[in-house]
Amino acid sequence: MSELTQTQGSDDTFSGLDYDNNGLALADICRSIAEVVRVGPDKPRRVRIALGAASVEVEWEQDRGQPSSVVLEPQGGTGAAGGAGDDILEGHRECAPLVGTFYAAPSPGAPPFVQPGDHVEQGQQLGIIEAMKLMNPLEATRPGRVVEVLVGDGEPVEYGEPLVLIDPDDATGGSQDEGA
């Protein structure tokens, strides 16, 4: 969060922008990033914003030391219109409904339930959370396009931890923060 604030205030990053046209969109983007950062497992390592094509990169340091990045790009417009851009950037997080171990595939070695880019229907299985030897399906609560599976196969997850990021078909509903 603090890194984000710093970036916002830095002249270097935002110099040359036409604030009259882009200020509003920028503020929207920053709010969206703040939200993504807030629900993320840790402080991000790096946040990059490019307003022209409205691309945003947030990078987290992972336990294994491999940086993973979530790149969100609106398919159509430049995002300058604001409003609808919010939800696309925020995405919809499917969060862990219980403490357990996350599995991305139905069995070891099998292809994963979903991959980035896949389109999922509401109720479609996204993964498994094993708790007390019981396999609990993780299902999509909204239809949309899978942006990223945020947790590795076989990783322990806490209640409320974001597991799958979905770009919802119906972007007007806003993101759902599952009680976190």
Binding site: V99, G100, T101, M132, Y159, G160, G179
Partner: protein
């Protein structure tokens, strides 16, 4: 064989208190927390923390699968349940064992037998402990209730078999109130404990609540650590506790201690436990047994110089108690006041809010167990206990003077935040309490007088 990692399946002051002892023993600690407790002090006090569910206790602190999962994934060897929540749940204790985790408390079958208050009553009767006249088991029909009531006499009390913590009990003073009270207590018991069975007992208006602390290991040693007087209660909720019980006849005191040890031995109890007795005109009677560490355990720790949580952990890991009864000599007087976030002006309804200011007292012989801190928002979902102030002194009067000094030092403020501190100070100054002549109806009748 000591534990490497202990998961503390609780929140608030007791979670922190358990973690402190673990740390002293070189044991790694794991906290579990709900989403409402993300930033609570017990989370910060632990070496690791796992978010196990949403704010509602049923889906977090009371969820055995969530707690077990958290224990397994953090490599815990044992689970300390604190008080309340899962602390006296035999199923939870059994699930712990099935998953290779040591439950720090008595064995599941002991918990199951003592958790049913009606069964506990008959077990203790068999062990030779005195009980009040009452139903031999649960009272399962209105006709049975009427029949038994005429034999027990009035006033009587109807209690939930699965009850505890002062909830699920109704005092009945005349025949016309019996059946409505019977139905209502069953309904409450069903709602609160998921078990509508109730039992009945004679009720004493003029009685003291005295409880005996016991400590037992798995090698046949059962010890007592004297008594606590918990007679200052508001609607069966304890507010002030002290050890030893003021003005108790030495013979009565030792008879109760012997009874508690006999009872614990009879049921094969292990760990720390408490026998609750009523002391009345005709002597004393067994009420129930609490199979956990209790809120008011610090007063016993203060007068005996024993860390009860440490002993619980040692006993659970299979060690034998290192002390003998002769080693346990009480010294001085310790008093505990419960500072709750409650509003006296709104009938002591919980008054949660953000603590703008929170400065606990200190100084000689003052102990404060709390999870409060300035800037923290007291969540509305949980118990209103915010802090326990414990004062020790060689004599009771000095301990009470010290308590008044400590309570006066306690600075708690925030929008909408009210506490029991003003009431506690009034009680500490009350001549009846000062004289040690208070009985369980002291506070409620005092409220009525002022009311």
């Amino acid at each position: 064989m000591g534990f490497g990692t202990v998961l503390v399946a609780n929140r608030g002051e007791i979670a922190i208190r358990v973690m402190r002892t673990c740390r002293e023993l070189g044991i790694r600690t794991v906290a579990v927390h709900s989403t409402a407790d993300k930033d609570s002090s017990h989370v910060h006090a632990a070496d690791a923390a796992v978010q196990i569910g949403p704010g509602a206790p049923r889906k977090s602190y009371l969820s055995a699968p969530a707690v077990i999962e958290a224990a397994l994934r953090t490599g815990a060897d044992a689970v300390h349940p604190g008080y309340g929540f899962l602390s006296e749940d035999p199923d939870f204790a059994e699930i712990c064992a099935e998953n290779g985790l040591t439950f720090i408390g008595p064995r599941p079958e002991v918990l199951a037998r003592l958790g049913d208050k009606a069964v506990a009553r008959s077990l203790m009767t068999d062990a030779g402990l005195p009980v009040l006249p009452g139903s031999p088991g649960t009272v399962d029909s209105a006709a049975e209730a009427s029949d038994l009531a005429s034999r027990i006499g009035y006033p009587l009390i109807i209690k939930a078999a699965a009850g505890g913590g002062g909830r699920g009990m109704t005092v009945v003073r005349q025949t016309s109130d019996l059946l409505p009270a019977y139905r209502q207590t069953r309904a409450t018991a069903q709602a609160v404990f998921g078990d509508n069975r109730v039992y009945m007992e004679r009720y004493c208006d003029s009685a003291r609540h005295i409880e005996v602390q016991v400590l037992a290991d798995g090698h046949g040693t059962v010890l007592h650590l004297g008594e606590r007087d918990c007679s200052v209660q508001r609607r069966h909720q304890k507010l002030i506790e002290e050890s030893p019980g003021p003005g108790l006849h030495p013979q009565l005191r030792s008879a109760m201690a012997r009874a508690a040890v006999r009872g614990a031995r009879a049921i094969g109890y292990t760990g720390a436990g408490t026998f609750e007795f009523l002391v009345h005109d005709e002597g004393f009677s067994f009420m129930e047994m609490n199979c956990r560490i209790q809120v008011e355990h610090p007063v016993t720790e203060a007068v005996y110089g024993v860390d009860l949580v440490r002993e619980q952990i040692r006993v659970a890991s299979g060690e034998a108690l290192r002390m003998t009864q002769e080693d346990l000599v009480p010294r001085g007087v310790a008093v505990e006041c419960r500072v709750n976030a409650e509003d006296p002006a709104r009938d002591f309804a919980p008054a949660p809010g953000t603590l703008d200011e929170f400065v606990p007292p200190g100084g000689p012989f003052v102990r404060v167990d709390t999870h409060g801190r300035a800037g923290w928002k007291v969540p509305p979902q949980y118990d209103s206990l915010l802090a326990k102030v414990i004062c020790w002194a060689p004599e009771r009067d000095e301990a009470l003077d010290r308590m008044d000094r400590a309570l006066a030092e306690f600075r708690i403020a925030g929008p909408g935040v009210h506490t029991t501190v003003p009431l506690l100070r009034e009680i500490v100054a009350d001549p009846v309490f000062r004289a040690g002549k208070h009985i369980t109806s002291f506070l409620d009748s005092r409220d009525d007088r002022q009311g």
